[in-house]
Assembly symmetry: C2
Homo-oligomer: 173 residues x 2
């Protein structure tokens, strides 16, 4: 019936704007009547601003990875946390409740081997055809780039912290 | 009183996500209680989705450049249109009504010489210190990069059109 082809979109690179552009994409998609969820792999990556704005536009923000720190003493606890976030992604994608899902910082998590890349690739290949998926995070794996329809690298050219300017509320948090 | 330092932020490069990341930034800033306006230099660059969502979060979208085509027979008409958009940017920035202003596609316009770069640089140097400004568009001028606090290049790695996939509603328009 539908001509919709669910895209696999990747935002990667060392610059700012990976999650921010995914939020902009959510804003646009919601304006078109899409149902959108954003699943957070890493605690603390989301800012006050988006948490306040999300309900106003009907964006489902699903925080996972609470307490994940990267310097945990117990790597198995962290792996279990990433596994739980991934199971959440899979369940939401197949729920029929969403047109667009954002797996926020999953590239980062895959880069550190917290989830098996083969499993994520297989899942993406078998996802419902009309569902769009956005994968954000630096160091996207070649397997993910290969599979994706649209890949953008956000590259840092200049950063205010390096010029001694403090992080600004409303912009960076 | 305030410790706020209004940043000059640039989103440039040949990839997607320049305007989209600015929209995400607007979403975050509005969630923090900022007042945000986005001024459009080029007609048709905005999509249905953001026009529908903007009022829900209180984002002022100001369309200028109506009828601007890049292949106009009368370059003076186009220049006058870009001048009007620029005057709108200046007036809004100094109005005291906004904390964050997005000059959408201004880099593109500057790149083609439709506005004098010196004038834009002088204006940015003299802007109200607490006001944040985002300049989007490919081919940002070196003078703008030099002045900016935060510069991100959105680089195209892979694009669906080149693989024969049609533009998708809700994602690309």
């Amino acid at each position: 019936m539908s001509e919709r082809k669910g895209l696999i979109i990747v935002h990667t690179g060392n610059g700012k704007g990976k999650t921010t552009a995914a939020l902009g994409l959510a804003l646009r998609a919601l304006g078109c009547g899409f149902r959108v969820a954003m699943i957070q792999f890493i605690k603390g990556k989301w800012k006050y601003g988006e948490r306040e704005s999300a309900p106003r536009i009907g964006l489902d923000l699903i925080p996972m990875g609470q307490g994940f720190t990267w310097d945990s003493k117990d790597i198995e606890v962290d792996k279990a946390m990433m596994r739980a976030a991934w199971e959440e992604c899979k369940a939401r994608t197949h729920s029929g409740n969403y047109d667009l899902l954002i797996f926020d910082e999953i590239n980062y998590v895959l880069g550190y081997g917290y989830l098996p890349i083969e499993e994520v690739v297989e899942f993406l290949k078998g996802k419902p055809p009309s569902v769009h998926v956005v994968l954000t995070g630096r160091n996207a794996k070649p397997e993910i780039i290969e599979l994706a329809d649209l890949v953008t690298e956000m590259k840092e050219i200049k950063h205010p912290f390096k010029q001694g300017i403090k992080a600004q509320r409303g912009i960076e948090f």
